[in-house]
Protein backbone atom coordinates (compact mmCIF):
# COMPACT_ATOMS: atom_id res chain seq x y z
CA UNK A 1 0.00 0.00 0.00
CA UNK A 2 2.88 2.33 0.83
CA UNK A 3 4.39 1.72 -2.57
CA UNK A 4 1.08 2.42 -4.20
CA UNK A 5 0.75 5.78 -2.40
CA UNK A 6 4.36 6.71 -3.17
CA UNK A 7 3.90 5.86 -6.83
CA UNK A 8 0.64 7.82 -6.95
CA UNK A 9 2.29 10.91 -5.42
CA UNK A 10 5.20 10.63 -7.84
CA UNK A 11 2.92 10.27 -10.81
CA UNK A 12 0.70 13.22 -9.75
CA UNK A 13 3.80 15.36 -9.34
CA UNK A 14 5.17 14.31 -12.70
CA UNK A 15 1.97 14.96 -14.60
CA UNK A 16 1.06 18.21 -12.86
CA UNK A 17 0.74 21.14 -15.26
CA UNK A 18 1.74 24.70 -14.63
CA UNK A 19 -1.39 26.86 -14.79
CA UNK A 20 -1.19 28.80 -17.99
CA UNK A 21 -2.66 32.24 -18.61
CA UNK A 22 -4.88 31.73 -21.59
CA UNK A 23 -6.76 35.03 -21.52
CA UNK A 24 -5.77 38.69 -21.52
CA UNK A 25 -6.39 40.37 -18.21
CA UNK A 26 -7.87 43.70 -19.17
CA UNK A 27 -9.12 44.69 -15.72
CA UNK A 28 -6.14 46.99 -15.15
CA UNK A 29 -6.68 48.61 -18.53
CA UNK A 30 -10.36 49.19 -17.75
CA UNK A 31 -9.41 50.76 -14.44
CA UNK A 32 -7.18 53.14 -16.35
CA UNK A 33 -9.90 53.87 -18.92
CA UNK A 34 -12.40 54.67 -16.22
CA UNK A 35 -9.97 57.03 -14.52
CA UNK A 36 -9.21 58.75 -17.82
CA UNK A 37 -12.93 59.07 -18.58
CA UNK A 38 -13.63 60.63 -15.20
CA UNK A 39 -10.66 62.96 -15.63
CA UNK A 40 -11.86 64.01 -19.10
CA UNK A 41 -15.40 64.65 -17.92
CA UNK A 42 -14.12 66.71 -15.01
CA UNK A 43 -11.69 68.79 -17.04
CA UNK A 44 -14.28 69.38 -19.79
CA UNK A 45 -16.83 70.56 -17.28
CA UNK A 46 -14.32 72.91 -15.69
CA UNK A 47 -13.18 74.51 -18.91
CA UNK A 48 -15.10 76.37 -21.55
CA UNK A 49 -17.83 73.79 -21.86
CA UNK A 50 -19.59 75.25 -18.83
CA UNK A 51 -20.11 78.56 -20.56
CA UNK A 52 -23.73 78.48 -21.63
CA UNK A 53 -24.20 78.94 -25.35
CA UNK A 54 -27.79 79.85 -26.03
CA UNK A 55 -29.81 82.37 -27.94
CA UNK A 56 -29.39 84.65 -24.91
CA UNK A 57 -25.61 84.45 -24.95
CA UNK A 58 -23.56 83.56 -28.00
CA UNK A 59 -19.93 84.49 -27.73
CA UNK A 60 -18.23 86.22 -30.66
CA UNK A 61 -15.80 84.30 -32.84
CA UNK A 62 -12.17 85.24 -33.20
CA UNK A 63 -9.13 84.09 -35.13
CA UNK A 64 -7.20 84.00 -31.87
CA UNK A 65 -5.93 80.55 -30.88
CA UNK A 66 -4.25 81.23 -27.56
CA UNK A 67 -5.42 79.54 -24.40
CA UNK A 68 -8.19 81.22 -22.47
CA UNK A 69 -7.24 82.88 -19.22
CA UNK A 70 -9.19 81.54 -16.25
CA UNK A 71 -8.18 84.20 -13.75
CA UNK A 72 -10.60 86.82 -12.55
CA UNK A 73 -14.26 87.36 -11.87
CA UNK A 74 -16.55 86.25 -14.67
CA UNK A 75 -18.87 88.99 -15.87
CA UNK A 76 -21.52 87.74 -18.28
CA UNK A 77 -23.29 90.21 -20.51
CA UNK A 78 -26.20 88.42 -22.13
CA UNK A 79 -29.09 89.82 -24.14
CA UNK A 80 -31.22 90.12 -20.98
CA UNK A 81 -28.92 90.43 -17.95
CA UNK A 82 -25.52 91.29 -16.62
CA UNK A 83 -24.42 88.44 -14.38
CA UNK A 84 -21.59 88.47 -11.84
CA UNK A 85 -20.62 85.28 -10.04
CA UNK A 86 -23.79 83.47 -11.17
CA UNK A 87 -26.18 86.13 -9.91
CA UNK A 88 -27.97 88.60 -12.16
CA UNK A 89 -27.18 92.14 -11.04
CA UNK A 90 -28.81 94.39 -13.61
CA UNK A 91 -31.22 93.81 -16.52
CA UNK A 92 -30.26 94.71 -20.07
CA UNK A 93 -32.99 96.72 -21.80
CA UNK A 94 -34.66 95.49 -24.98
CA UNK A 95 -32.81 98.16 -26.97
CA UNK A 96 -29.33 98.23 -25.42
CA UNK A 97 -27.74 100.60 -27.96
CA UNK A 98 -27.94 103.37 -25.34
CA UNK A 99 -26.62 101.14 -22.57
CA UNK A 100 -28.24 100.26 -19.28
CA UNK A 101 -31.29 102.23 -18.17
CA UNK A 102 -30.58 105.57 -16.52
CA UNK A 103 -32.07 104.56 -13.16
CA UNK A 104 -29.21 102.07 -12.67
CA UNK A 105 -26.56 104.70 -13.39
CA UNK A 106 -24.81 107.00 -10.94
CA UNK A 107 -25.97 110.23 -12.59
CA UNK A 108 -28.43 109.57 -15.33
CA UNK A 109 -28.50 107.82 -18.70
CA UNK A 110 -25.36 109.50 -20.07
CA UNK A 111 -23.19 108.19 -17.26
CA UNK A 112 -21.15 105.03 -17.84
CA UNK A 113 -21.07 103.89 -14.21
CA UNK A 114 -23.54 101.06 -13.52
CA UNK A 115 -24.19 101.19 -9.76
CA UNK A 116 -25.58 97.65 -9.15
CA UNK A 117 -22.68 96.15 -11.12
CA UNK A 118 -20.12 98.15 -9.16
CA UNK A 119 -21.73 97.09 -5.87
CA UNK A 120 -21.64 93.43 -6.90
CA UNK A 121 -17.98 93.74 -7.87
CA UNK A 122 -16.98 95.43 -4.63
CA UNK A 123 -17.14 92.34 -2.40
CA UNK A 124 -15.34 90.28 -5.00
CA UNK A 125 -12.64 92.94 -5.26
CA UNK A 126 -12.16 93.00 -1.48
CA UNK A 127 -11.74 89.22 -1.36
CA UNK A 128 -9.45 89.21 -4.37
CA UNK A 129 -7.30 91.98 -2.89
CA UNK A 130 -6.61 89.83 0.18
CA UNK A 131 -5.93 86.75 -1.93
CA UNK A 132 -3.55 88.62 -4.22
CA UNK A 133 -1.70 90.13 -1.25
CA UNK A 134 -1.40 86.70 0.39
CA UNK A 135 -0.15 85.04 -2.79
CA UNK A 136 2.44 87.68 -3.55
CA UNK A 137 0.62 89.27 -6.48
CA UNK A 138 0.05 92.97 -6.97
CA UNK A 139 -3.06 93.71 -4.85
CA UNK A 140 -3.68 97.10 -6.42
CA UNK A 141 -5.85 95.66 -9.19
CA UNK A 142 -8.01 92.67 -10.04
CA UNK A 143 -8.74 90.84 -13.25
CA UNK A 144 -12.04 90.14 -14.93
CA UNK A 145 -13.19 87.76 -17.64
CA UNK A 146 -15.80 89.39 -19.87
CA UNK A 147 -18.15 86.92 -21.51
CA UNK A 148 -20.44 88.98 -23.67
CA UNK A 149 -22.98 88.19 -26.35
CA UNK A 150 -21.80 88.78 -29.92
CA UNK A 151 -24.60 91.27 -30.45
CA UNK A 152 -23.80 93.41 -27.41
CA UNK A 153 -23.62 97.03 -28.58
CA UNK A 154 -20.36 98.88 -28.06
CA UNK A 155 -22.00 101.37 -25.70
CA UNK A 156 -23.05 98.63 -23.28
CA UNK A 157 -19.63 96.97 -23.52
CA UNK A 158 -17.90 100.24 -22.67
CA UNK A 159 -20.25 100.83 -19.73
CA UNK A 160 -19.37 97.42 -18.31
CA UNK A 161 -15.63 97.93 -18.87
CA UNK A 162 -15.75 101.44 -17.43
CA UNK A 163 -17.58 100.24 -14.30
CA UNK A 164 -15.05 97.43 -13.91
CA UNK A 165 -12.25 99.97 -14.22
CA UNK A 166 -13.84 102.14 -11.53
CA UNK A 167 -14.06 99.09 -9.26
CA UNK A 168 -10.26 98.64 -9.52
CA UNK A 169 -10.38 95.95 -12.18
CA UNK A 170 -7.72 96.96 -14.60
CA UNK A 171 -7.05 93.84 -16.64
CA UNK A 172 -9.80 92.35 -18.75
CA UNK A 173 -9.90 89.07 -20.61
CA UNK A 174 -12.49 89.23 -23.37
CA UNK A 175 -13.62 85.67 -23.91
CA UNK A 176 -14.18 84.63 -27.51
CA UNK A 177 -14.74 81.43 -29.41
CA UNK A 178 -11.89 80.17 -31.53
CA UNK A 179 -12.43 79.27 -35.12
CA UNK A 180 -13.40 82.40 -37.04
CA UNK A 181 -12.24 82.49 -40.65
CA UNK A 182 -9.26 84.74 -41.33
Amino acid sequence: MATYKRELRKEIKRRAQEPEINFLNITAMLDMMTIILVFLLKSMSQSSANIPQSSDLTMPKSTLTTEASQEGVAVLVSKTNIVVDDSAVVPVPADPTHGIEGKYKRSGPNDLYIVPLANALQSWRERDRQIRAATGKDPSFSEAIIIADAGTPYRLLVEVLFTLGQAEFSRFHLMVLQGAKK
Binding site: M1, T3, Y4, E7, L8, E11, I12, R14, R15, A16, Q17, F23, I26, T27, L30, M33, T34, L37, M44, S48, A49, I51, Q53, P60, K61, S62, T63, L64, T65, T66, E67, A68, S69, T97, H98, G99, N110, A150, G151, T152, P153, Y154, R155, L157, V158, L161, F162, G165, F169, S170, R171, F172, H173, L174, M175, V176, L177, Q178, G179, A180
Partner: protein
Protein backbone atom coordinates in the same frame (compact mmCIF):
# COMPACT_ATOMS: atom_id res chain seq x y z
CA UNK B 1 19.85 -6.99 3.44
CA UNK B 2 19.01 -5.45 6.82
CA UNK B 3 16.93 -2.18 6.74
CA UNK B 4 15.94 -2.58 3.10
CA UNK B 5 12.20 -2.88 2.44
CA UNK B 6 11.21 -5.56 0.04
CA UNK B 7 10.03 -3.92 -3.24
CA UNK B 8 6.25 -4.25 -3.36
CA UNK B 9 5.02 -4.94 -6.86
CA UNK B 10 1.97 -3.05 -8.09
CA UNK B 11 -0.65 -4.98 -9.86
CA UNK B 12 -2.34 -3.86 -13.11
CA UNK B 13 -5.41 -2.48 -11.34
CA UNK B 14 -3.27 -0.34 -9.06
CA UNK B 15 -1.19 0.97 -11.98
CA UNK B 16 -4.39 1.79 -13.85
CA UNK B 17 -5.78 3.58 -10.81
CA UNK B 18 -2.55 5.60 -10.43
CA UNK B 19 -2.77 6.66 -14.08
CA UNK B 20 -6.38 7.64 -13.65
CA UNK B 21 -5.89 9.56 -10.42
CA UNK B 22 -2.73 11.35 -11.51
CA UNK B 23 -4.30 12.70 -14.68
CA UNK B 24 -4.55 16.52 -14.42
CA UNK B 25 -8.06 17.46 -13.45
CA UNK B 26 -10.16 19.77 -15.51
CA UNK B 27 -11.12 22.66 -13.26
CA UNK B 28 -14.64 22.34 -12.05
CA UNK B 29 -17.32 24.88 -12.89
CA UNK B 30 -16.67 27.91 -10.75
CA UNK B 31 -13.20 26.70 -9.77
CA UNK B 32 -11.40 27.83 -12.87
CA UNK B 33 -9.75 31.24 -13.01
CA UNK B 34 -12.66 32.77 -14.89
CA UNK B 35 -12.32 35.81 -17.13
CA UNK B 36 -14.16 38.85 -15.85
CA UNK B 37 -17.13 39.50 -18.10
CA UNK B 38 -16.56 43.11 -19.03
CA UNK B 39 -19.00 43.30 -21.92
CA UNK B 40 -21.81 45.00 -19.91
CA UNK B 41 -19.27 47.37 -18.43
CA UNK B 42 -17.95 48.25 -21.89
CA UNK B 43 -21.52 48.78 -23.08
CA UNK B 44 -22.06 51.28 -20.29
CA UNK B 45 -18.76 53.05 -20.98
CA UNK B 46 -19.55 53.27 -24.70
CA UNK B 47 -23.00 54.66 -23.99
CA UNK B 48 -21.58 57.24 -21.59
CA UNK B 49 -18.95 58.25 -24.13
CA UNK B 50 -21.54 58.61 -26.91
CA UNK B 51 -23.81 60.60 -24.61
CA UNK B 52 -20.99 62.92 -23.57
CA UNK B 53 -19.79 63.45 -27.12
CA UNK B 54 -23.32 64.10 -28.35
CA UNK B 55 -24.34 66.51 -25.64
CA UNK B 56 -21.20 68.42 -24.76
CA UNK B 57 -20.50 71.00 -27.42
CA UNK B 58 -16.76 71.22 -27.34
CA UNK B 59 -16.04 74.89 -27.52
CA UNK B 60 -12.51 76.12 -27.66
CA UNK B 61 -12.23 79.54 -26.20
CA UNK B 62 -9.56 82.19 -26.13
CA UNK B 63 -9.25 85.48 -24.31
CA UNK B 64 -8.15 88.86 -25.60
CA UNK B 65 -6.43 90.90 -22.92
CA UNK B 66 -7.31 94.58 -22.72
CA UNK B 67 -7.20 97.52 -20.36
CA UNK B 68 -10.02 99.78 -19.13
CA UNK B 69 -11.33 102.32 -21.64
CA UNK B 70 -9.49 105.62 -21.74
CA UNK B 71 -10.86 109.01 -22.54
CA UNK B 72 -8.51 110.82 -24.91
CA UNK B 73 -5.13 109.59 -26.16
CA UNK B 74 -3.35 106.36 -25.43
CA UNK B 75 -1.24 107.68 -22.56
CA UNK B 76 1.90 109.71 -22.01
CA UNK B 77 4.46 109.64 -24.78
CA UNK B 78 7.97 110.88 -25.15
CA UNK B 79 7.59 114.02 -27.25
CA UNK B 80 10.78 113.40 -29.18
CA UNK B 81 9.78 109.99 -30.50
CA UNK B 82 7.48 110.06 -33.50
CA UNK B 83 4.53 107.77 -32.93
CA UNK B 84 1.79 106.53 -35.18
CA UNK B 85 -0.94 106.77 -32.51
CA UNK B 86 -3.29 104.60 -34.52
CA UNK B 87 -6.98 104.96 -33.75
CA UNK B 88 -9.66 102.96 -35.50
CA UNK B 89 -13.25 104.12 -35.14
CA UNK B 90 -15.91 101.69 -36.27
CA UNK B 91 -18.86 103.49 -37.81
CA UNK B 92 -21.92 101.99 -39.52
CA UNK B 93 -20.38 102.60 -42.98
CA UNK B 94 -16.88 101.26 -42.34
CA UNK B 95 -13.70 102.16 -40.52
CA UNK B 96 -12.42 105.62 -39.84
CA UNK B 97 -8.67 105.49 -39.24
CA UNK B 98 -6.63 108.17 -37.56
CA UNK B 99 -2.85 108.14 -37.48
CA UNK B 100 -0.23 110.73 -36.55
CA UNK B 101 -3.01 113.02 -35.44
CA UNK B 102 -4.73 113.17 -38.82
CA UNK B 103 -7.56 111.36 -40.53
CA UNK B 104 -6.49 108.75 -43.06
CA UNK B 105 -8.36 109.22 -46.35
CA UNK B 106 -10.04 106.54 -48.42
CA UNK B 107 -7.51 104.09 -49.83
CA UNK B 108 -5.22 104.50 -46.85
CA UNK B 109 -2.60 106.42 -48.78
CA UNK B 110 -2.79 109.96 -47.49
CA UNK B 111 -4.49 112.14 -44.95
CA UNK B 112 -7.79 113.69 -45.83
CA UNK B 113 -11.50 113.48 -45.22
CA UNK B 114 -13.59 110.33 -45.54
CA UNK B 115 -13.54 106.79 -44.31
CA UNK B 116 -10.25 104.95 -44.73
CA UNK B 117 -11.98 101.63 -45.29
CA UNK B 118 -15.60 101.44 -46.38
CA UNK B 119 -17.98 98.53 -46.41
CA UNK B 120 -17.98 96.10 -49.31
CA UNK B 121 -20.62 93.93 -50.92
CA UNK B 122 -20.64 90.46 -49.43
CA UNK B 123 -22.89 87.40 -49.52
CA UNK B 124 -25.04 88.88 -46.73
CA UNK B 125 -25.18 92.42 -48.10
CA UNK B 126 -22.80 95.21 -47.15
CA UNK B 127 -20.05 93.92 -44.87
CA UNK B 128 -17.09 95.36 -43.05
CA UNK B 129 -13.90 94.96 -45.08
CA UNK B 130 -11.50 93.47 -42.55
CA UNK B 131 -8.93 92.51 -45.20
CA UNK B 132 -8.59 96.09 -46.36
CA UNK B 133 -8.37 97.29 -42.76
CA UNK B 134 -5.59 94.75 -42.17
CA UNK B 135 -3.76 95.96 -45.28
CA UNK B 136 -4.25 99.58 -44.20
CA UNK B 137 -2.83 98.91 -40.72
CA UNK B 138 0.15 97.14 -42.30
CA UNK B 139 0.74 100.04 -44.70
CA UNK B 140 0.60 102.59 -41.88
CA UNK B 141 2.94 100.57 -39.68
CA UNK B 142 5.47 100.28 -42.50
CA UNK B 143 5.41 104.03 -43.21
CA UNK B 144 8.40 104.56 -40.96
CA UNK B 145 10.86 102.40 -39.04
CA UNK B 146 9.93 104.46 -35.95
CA UNK B 147 6.57 102.69 -35.87
CA UNK B 148 7.81 99.12 -36.05
CA UNK B 149 7.84 98.71 -32.27
CA UNK B 150 4.45 100.30 -31.83
CA UNK B 151 1.87 97.67 -30.98
CA UNK B 152 -0.99 99.59 -29.40
CA UNK B 153 -4.11 100.79 -31.11
CA UNK B 154 -7.17 102.55 -29.78
CA UNK B 155 -10.42 101.07 -30.99
CA UNK B 156 -13.62 103.00 -30.65
CA UNK B 157 -17.02 102.51 -32.17
CA UNK B 158 -20.46 103.98 -32.56
CA UNK B 159 -22.74 103.01 -29.68
CA UNK B 160 -24.74 100.53 -31.76
CA UNK B 161 -21.81 98.58 -33.24
CA UNK B 162 -22.07 94.91 -32.18
CA UNK B 163 -19.38 93.27 -30.09
CA UNK B 164 -18.64 90.75 -32.88
CA UNK B 165 -17.58 93.59 -35.19
CA UNK B 166 -15.31 94.99 -32.47
CA UNK B 167 -13.68 91.56 -31.98
CA UNK B 168 -13.25 91.04 -35.74
CA UNK B 169 -11.69 94.51 -36.00
CA UNK B 170 -9.24 93.59 -33.24
CA UNK B 171 -8.46 90.36 -35.13
CA UNK B 172 -7.80 92.34 -38.31
CA UNK B 173 -5.45 94.70 -36.48
CA UNK B 174 -3.54 91.97 -34.60
CA UNK B 175 -1.47 90.37 -37.35
CA UNK B 176 -0.94 90.73 -41.10
CA UNK B 177 -1.32 87.98 -43.71
CA UNK B 178 2.34 86.98 -43.21
CA UNK B 179 1.63 86.55 -39.47
CA UNK B 180 3.75 89.59 -38.59
CA UNK B 181 2.64 91.43 -35.46
CA UNK B 182 0.77 94.66 -36.19
CA UNK B 183 -1.22 96.11 -33.29
CA UNK B 184 -2.14 93.40 -30.75
CA UNK B 185 -2.53 95.76 -27.76
CA UNK B 186 -6.00 97.23 -27.93
CA UNK B 187 -7.32 100.08 -25.81
CA UNK B 188 -10.96 100.93 -26.03
CA UNK B 189 -11.88 104.52 -26.62
CA UNK B 190 -14.89 106.04 -24.96
CA UNK B 191 -17.73 106.89 -27.28
CA UNK B 192 -19.54 109.73 -25.57
Amino acid sequence: MAGQQPQEKLNAAQRSKIRRLSAPKEPAEGEEAGELNVVPFLDIITNVMMFVLATVVTTFTATIDTMPPKAGGSGARAPTTPTLGLTVIIVPDGFSVKARGGNVATGCNETGPGLAVGKVNGPDGMEYDYKSLNACAKKLKNLSSDFKDETSVTVSANPNIPYQVVISTMDALRRDDQDEVLFPDVNFGLAR
